[in-house]
Structure formats: C-alpha cells, structure tokens
C-alpha cells in the first residue's frame, strides 16, 4: 500500500517536472520536433503503402490439362519448347524477361510467370496462386475445343467468380492455343461458345441459394445474356501457337498489364 502511494507521488512529481521542462523549451523548437516526427510517420506510412501497391507482377498460365500451358511457358522463357512436355504434376515458376524474336528496346522488367497444372486434382494449387496474380492467361485448346468446352467454361467461370479476381479486377486473356493446325477453331467461335456455356452455368448456379458450390460472386448482368464485356475485369481473346512459337499476342498482353 505504501509503495503504491509512493509511486503515485513520484509519478506526479515527474509529470510536473516534465511540464516545467517543456515550458522551458522555446516554442519553435517544440514545433519543429513535432513536425519532424509527424513528417517521418507520414513518410513511413506512404512507403509501406507504396510497397504494398507494387504487388507482384505475377502472370498465371492456367487452363485445362493438355491445352499447352507448359509449352507456352517454355516458349515465353526460352523461345522453344525443347523436347516436348508431359502432364505437369507441379507448377512451373520463373522470373525472366520474355523471350522475343526481335530485340527489344530499352529495359524490360522481368516477369514472374507461373504455369499452374490443369489437372482437376491439382485445382487447389490455382487457389494458392490467385491472390498474387496480376494478370491471368487462360489457355484453351482450339483444336479439341468442343469436347472440352464444358470443362473449360466451368474452369473459367470459377476463375472469373473468384473473390481475388473480382476485387482486384485482374485482367484475363482467353488464349486459343494450337492455332497452327488446320482444323483449329477461330477465336471468335471460341469466344462465343464460351460465352454461351458460361451463360448456361450462370443459369444453373444462380438457381441455387447464395452459398453454393463455393462461388464467391456471380458475374454478368441480370436478365441479359452473358458476354465477356459484362465482367468488371477486362477479358480479351487472342490466338497463339505454342509449338510454332507464335506468342506475340500473349506477350503484348503481358507487357501491357505488367507495367515496368
């Protein structure tokens, strides 16, 4: 008890002394000190926010198994797909400058490219990478499109309704691969088919209650047929050929959205 009393008295004494001391300092110095303190805190906060905003320049390559993501990855990295690929069991990651045939001018910022396996059992891996994605390239096999149309559209639907993608408005490129083959479909056809399939998905999934099959959001406008222009994030379509190395459109997309 006495200790408490003593402590209280001592605290009071200190506070008086502190106030006296402060009053002794000329006001200008005081203001200057406070000003500097404020300034540094603001600077610190800003820099933290800036660091956070320069989010990773990660580009995700996703799509069904067999659509040509790994080939595309190696084309973008090395300019050739080497000796061929098999079904990926793990993601391929790399940070590099995009390989392009014509020498580029000036400094190009290296891009962090991630090729996520498309096999349905490895779907959880995609969710690991989605939070850090700055752009997504969704690769579709233009040759074997119709048999896989439904699975591809479900996958794309899951990506487009993912919370991270919607909130950050991540741009998506629908890349039609294997266009070097004669019987490959055109990108317009593929786009229309995907829109139709997603429309059907929308109808079947919005008939259920809000918390169903883990879709965080719905896309499109009520009452209208779905079109990619309804998405809040930008969805564009491009063509590419992994085996021949024609990846110009993909590279342009990546360069556009990963600003140096």
């Amino acid at each position: 008890m006495e200790n408490l009393e003593d402590l209280k008295i001592m605290a009071e004494q200190w506070s008086y002394q502190g106030i006296e001391y402060l009053q002794k300092i000329p006001p200008t110095q005081l203001y200057a000190a406070v000003g500097v303190l404020l300034f540094t805190t603001i600077l610190l906060l800003l820099s933290i926010r800036l660091v956070r905003r320069t989010k990773s320049n990660t580009v995700l390559l996703s799509g069904l198994s067999g659509s040509g993501k790994t080939v595309l990855f190696y084309q973008l990295r090395d300019g050739s797909s080497h000796q061929g690929t098999v079904t990926s069991m793990e993601p391929n990651e790399g940070t590099f400058v995009l390989h392009s045939k014509n020498a580029k001018k000036g400094k190009i910022k290296p891009v962090h490219l991630v090729d996520v396996p498309g096999h349905s059992r490895l779907r959880p891996k995609l969710e690991e990478f989605l939070p850090q994605a700055a752009a997504i390239v969704f690769v579709v096999d233009a040759l074997e499109f119709l048999p896989n149309c439904r699975a591809a559209s479900e996958y794309l639907y899951d990506i487009l309704t993912n919370a991270n993608v919607v909130k950050k408005k991540v741009p998506v490129l629908l890349c039609c691969n294997k266009t070097d083959k004669l019987t490959a479909h055109t990108k317009e056809f593929i786009r229309k088919q995907m829109e139709k399939e997603i429309e059907k998905l929308r109808a079947s999934r919005s008939a259920v209650s809000t918390a169903d099959i883990a879709n965080d959001f719905t896309i499109g406008i009520e009452g209208e047929v779905f079109s990619f222009s309804h998405c809040c994030n930008k969805v564009t379509v491009a063509e590419a050929s992994g085996l021949n190395g024609e990846t110009v459109q993909v590279q342009d997309f990546i360069r556009e959205y990963i600003k140096p």
Partner: protein, 652 residues
C-alpha cells in the same frame, strides 16, 4: 566399346571386357522407351536409339491415373501392351520412366532405372535443357551393363542383389504377395498378369485398368464365385425363394427399413395399416401387387411436406474452426515414436538434423514418422490397405528429398500426407449435378440416377433427401421403386413421394427391376420429369446373381449417374464392397461402354465423430468423388463433402 568402362564411376560390377555383348540388336528392342522429365512436365531426355513412337500416350496416362492418384508406391503400371516402371528423384524433382512390352518380363529395368537416376543426377543442371550429347553415350553404357548383368543373373541363376531402391521394391512386392495369400484383397501389381485394358485413353476408363489390376488376382482364384454357388444350393434346399442372398442380412435390412419408416409416421401410428387384411392371410406369398391400389385410404394420414423444412444443408456454407494444428502436433509427435532403443538416437539426431536441415531423407528416417501416421489414419477408420498404400506413396515422393532447415521430419511427412490427401479427395471431374441436369433437360431426356449399395446403408432415405434438395432448386423429380424384393420398400418410397409431392413409378413386388426402371424412364420422358431417381435393392457384393441383376439394370437403362451409397461406419469392408461392385459392373457389362460407379453418397455421417476415414478409403479405391454426405434422418440432412475439414480431422 568397353574401354570406356573406366570412365563410368558407377559400374558396381566388373564386366568381363572380353565378352562381346550378347545378341545386342535383339535385346535392344526389348526396352521401348526411357524418359526423364521434370515434375513440372518438361521432358529432359529420351532415348534416341529406340526410335519407336509409343502407341497411345502411356506417360500421360501413367501420370494421370497412377502418380496423381497417389499410387506411386506401386511397382509398375500396365497400359495397353506396355508396362511402365518409374522412379523419382525427389530432391531434384525428376521422374524416370521406362516403358517396355508387357509380355517380356525384363528383370533389369529396376536396376537400370536406379543407375540412370544416379548418373543423371550428377550431370543435372536446372538451367540446362538438353542433355543429349552427354547422356546418350552414358545411357548406352549403362544399359549394356544392365543387360549384361541380367544375362549373368540368368546364367548363374542367382538373385543378384540390386541397388537399394530395387530391394525395397521387391520387398514391397513380397509383402503384398503375403498379404494376398492371407486373403486380404491386396493391390499387388505384377508384370504380365491381369486383364489388359484395351479401352481407349479416356481418363474415366483408366480406373478400370487400375480396378482390374487390383482385383485381377482375386478373380483368378475364383473363390468368390464358388462360394456363392454353394451358398445358393444350400439356401435353395432350405426352401427360401430362389433369389439367393443371405436371409439374415435381408431381415436386418428390413428391420432397418421399417425403423426408418417409423419416424415419418409417428404422428399417425395408430392408423398405420400394413396393407390391409390381405397381408396377414397370405404370409407365404410375397407379392403385394393387388394391395397397392387399396392404399388410397392412407393418403389423408400422411403429412404433406411443403417447402418448409428449411434449407437443405447442401446449400449452406460449412463453417469450420481453423484451430492451430501445430500445437496439437507437438504434443502427439514425441509420444508417438517411442521405441526405446531408437529413442535417444532418434530424438537427438532429428533435432540436430532439423536445425541444420541438410540431410537427405532416407527410408529409415521416414519409416517411424510414416508408421505413426499410418496408425493415426487407422484409428480414424481408414482401411488398413489404403493407409498402407498411401504411406508408400508418400514415402516414394519424399525419399531423397532435402530437409528444409528448421523443420522436423515428422512435419515434412505430415505436410506431404496432407497434400496427398487433398489431392485424392479433390474430385477428378466436376460434380455439378445441376449443370448435368440442365444439360439433360436441353436434350429433352430425363437425368437418371441409380442408387446402389449393400443392405441397410440408407439408400431409400437418402434418395428422398436428394429428391427434396432437387425440388428446392425447382427441378421436377420422379422416383422409381425398383426395389422389388424387400418387403415394405415400395411403401416406404411411396410415403416419401407423398410427403414430397413427387410422382412415383412402381410396379409392386417380384417384378424385374431392370424392366421397371426402363418403364419408369419412359414414363418420365412422357410427363416431362427432369430427374428420375431409381431405388434398387441392397445386395452384398459377393452375391453373384444379384450383382448380375444390377448389371443388367445398368446396361439396359444406361443411367447418367451410378451412385454408390456407402455408410461412414464401414471399416475395411468399404474397400471390398467398392472394388467388387466395380469389378462386377465391368465384367458383366455387355456393350462397349462400361459403366462404373460414378459417385459416392456417404451416409450416417452424424454417427461418427471424427472417424471419417471411410470417405478416404472409398474415394481412393474407386476414384469416384463423394457427391453427397448424409448426416441425419430428416430431409434437410444432406451436405457436400468439405475436403479441407476431412483432411484436418484425419490428420489431427
């Protein structure tokens, strides 16, 4: 050519340099292909000498139906006319696969793979993409040496001890052999045995190959069929009606069935009349066809269920608490591996290793952790074989890997197991039933679901729950009572149909279920129902005539979804049930398109607390996803499987 043997550092056996390579051109054709690729999918090296292109895509099929299905602990994999063997280098993330003709039983392949692995890992560089110039020569040497060794082995008729991994693989084979002989349906894959899956590459059908391989050995014994015939003869002599099946099981089933009928009718117990006076008079005759029409009087007493039972749990988000797992692990781990002699060494060295983190994981290191994990899985009601196979698969994927610093072996093993479990339980195809129903609707035909399973698992109850859920989503449902054997089955379904206000198609008892189902589907097409739910009689997996009848039903009606109903209480029998069902369905299928079990409905989930292992066993053995989980006896007690929660519970 043998002068360069000096340069080969790894030739553990001296090759007689005077001897010319025996019949080398002929032997060279025996190995079809040898590939080295990364886990990310890039092919690093293929053998250029053997130029044959492989028929089909065996490597992709291997990856999809074996390695990604957590069966990497198996010895080999058969595909078409080829057999594939593989080995991993887990530290560098490389996979080595050898392909050869199935009819040839090459002994040197394991040996060759391990030597290739060692020599390739020396020259491997992540930056380098092409190894042709270096490795071609090395490979040729290694192969000739391996072939020579095999020749010597054959000549001297001694079993030469191959390198360490080979020993373990052979040890596994013999382990599995003893298991098989003890009667447990093991999954040992031997080269050159078993039915060839001549089906095309559809991923769906690769399970057939696996399922067939797994149970090929069982089938070859033909014990099962023999038992049934004798059982049947015995039963016939006792005067039971010639439907076979164990009488006891049926009576148990009917007890359970009647107890299920009890709750809905509790309010009106007094008025329940079991088919009027006719039943009491005609005890021998099991045909109740006449009395069906007279049940009109019971209508008033059955409560009609409006949509007011609330939301089915299928539509509710599952909220599970994410408790910190690491704290629990720390308590469990030190207690679990308590071998007195290995304890001191184990603890100290594991702590040391965990800090330095440089050690390569060896099988001996992994064994205690894996054993503990297997025990834990088995206490959670995972079937013993499945736990064993899973542990082998995880072992195969961790062996040789470098421990990251500050991690213990047990936590690495735990993480690997968790990933493997999530991979198994994640469905291979989309389980969006609504979408399928809509697709069928567009084609103007009903979507047919057949519920199969053994006796007493809850098929009829869960059928009603599924009907309720579908109704809530504005899909018109029709029930088909194809359980024409068990007394009370048709009435049970009729009661459910009345409560849900759903049309029911029934033909009474003692009718052929396949024909009843066919007519039901025609009726549904006529009156425009979207979905037809077909209820079948429970049957034991060993009962040949009943399985044949089921197969006939499925072949005749070609349903869209064959749903296997299994209870979560089942233990090791789950493996047997599912594999036999699948096997019978594939054996007895007449048309080219074999239908297997497409999905699993897990019932009585509320009766198990955390012993959720049956889900894992069933999914692993059949490859079919769990589409629904029944967790109670009212209509809303149907939910989806939450993969992460189950994995967490299994590893807790």
């Amino acid at each position: 050519m043998y002068n360069s043997s000096r340069h080969i550092k790894h030739s553990l056996f001296t090759v007689h340099s005077n001897e010319p390579p025996p019949a080398s051109t002929k032997q060279r054709k025996m190995l079809e292909q040898l590939l080295i690729f990364t886990r990310g999918g890039l092919i690093l090296w293929t053998c250029k000498e053997i130029g044959n292109a492989l028929k089909g895509s065996p490597i992709d099929t291997l990856i999809r139906s074996c390695l990604l299905e957590e069966r990497s602990g198996e010895v080999s994999f058969n595909y078409g006319a080829y057999t594939l063997k593989w080995t991993f280098h887990n530290d560098l993330g490389l996979v080595f696969v050898a392909v050869y003709q199935k009819i040839l039983q090459l002994l040197y392949v394991d040996d060759l793979l391990s030597v290739v692995k060692q020599s390739f890992s020396e020259i491997y560089d992540p930056k380098r993409m092409s190894y042709d110039d270096d490795f071609d020569e090395t490979f040729r040497q290694l192969r000739m040496e391996a072939e020579a060794r095999a020749e010597e082995m054959k000549k001297t008729k001694q079993v030469v001890k191959p390198l360490s991994s080979g020993v373990k693989k052979q040890g596994q084979v013999s382990k599995e052999e003893t298991k098989k002989s003890s009667g447990v349906g093991g999954g040992s894959k031997k080269d050159g045995e078993g039915k060839v899956s001549s089906l095309t590459n559809g991923n769906h059908h690769d399970d057939v190959a696996n399922g067939k391989e797994n149970t090929a050995e069982n089938n070859s014994n033909n014990n099962v069929v023999g038992l049934d015939v004798s059982k049947l003869a015995k039963l016939r002599s006792k005067g039971v009606r010639g439907r076979g099946g164990v009488r006891k099981a049926d009576s148990i089933g009917s007890n359970k069935g009647s107890s299920k009928v009890e709750p809905p009718k509790k309010a009106t117990k007094k008025n329940r009349v079991w088919d009027d006076a006719a039943a009491s008079k005609q005890e021998e005759k099991l045909d109740f066809t006449d009395s069906v029409d007279e049940n009109g009087g019971n209508d008033d007493h059955v409560d009609v269920v409006a949509a007011d039972q609330g939301e089915s749990m299928m539509d509710k988000e599952e909220v599970f608490s994410s408790d910190s797992e690491s704290e629990d692990d720390d308590d469990d781990e030190p207690r679990s591996d308590e071998k007195p002699e290995a304890k001191k060494k184990g603890w100290f060295s594991s702590v040391f290793q965990s800090i330095t983190g440089k050690a390569n994981l060896e099988r001996t290191d992994l064994e205690p952790a894996l054993k503990a994990l297997k025990e834990r899985l088995m206490t959670k009601n995972v079937a013993e074989e499945i736990a064993e196979k899973l542990c082998e698969s995880v072992e195969a994927s961790l062996e040789g890997k470098k421990l990251a610093s500050f991690t213990r072996i047990s936590s690495t093993v735990q993480e690997a197991m968790e990933e493997a479990l999530i991979r198994i339980l994640t469905p291979r195809r989309s389980i969006d039933i609504m979408r399928d129903v809509h697709a069928a609707k567009e084609q103007r035909r009903p979507y047919v679901v057949v519920f199969v399973g053994v006796n007493g698992v809850g098929k009829s109850t869960n059928l009603a729950k599924v009907a309720y859920w579908l109704q809530q989503h504005k899909v018109s449902v029709m029930m088909a009572a194809c359980d024409t054997f068990r007394s009370g089955a048709v009435e049970q379904l009729r009661t459910h149909a009345r409560r849900l206000q759903v049309p029911i198609f029934e033909k009474g008892y003692e009718k052929d279920p396949a024909v009843v189902a066919k007519e039901a589907i025609q009726e549904a097409t006529r009156n425009g129902s979207d979905v037809v739910l077909v209820d079948t009689a429970g049957r034991m997996q060993d009962n040949e005539p009943l399985m044949r009848a089921l197969s006939k039903l499925i072949n005749l009606n070609k349903p869209d979804l064959v749903l296997f109903v299994g209870e979560a209480l089942v233990g090791n029998d789950a493996v047997d049930q599912l594999s036999k069902f699948n096997q019978k369905l594939s054996d007895l299928s007449t048309s080219g398109n074999t239908r297997l079990i497409d999905g699993i409905l897990l019932t009585k989930f509320d009766t198990i607390d955390d012993k959720v292992g049956a889900a894992l066993s069933m999914v692993y053995i059949s490859g079919a996803p769990v589409m629904f989980v029944g967790c109670g006896q009212s209509y809303t007690d149907l939910k989806k499987l939450n993969v992460k929660a189950i994995v967490k519970t299994l590893l807790k």
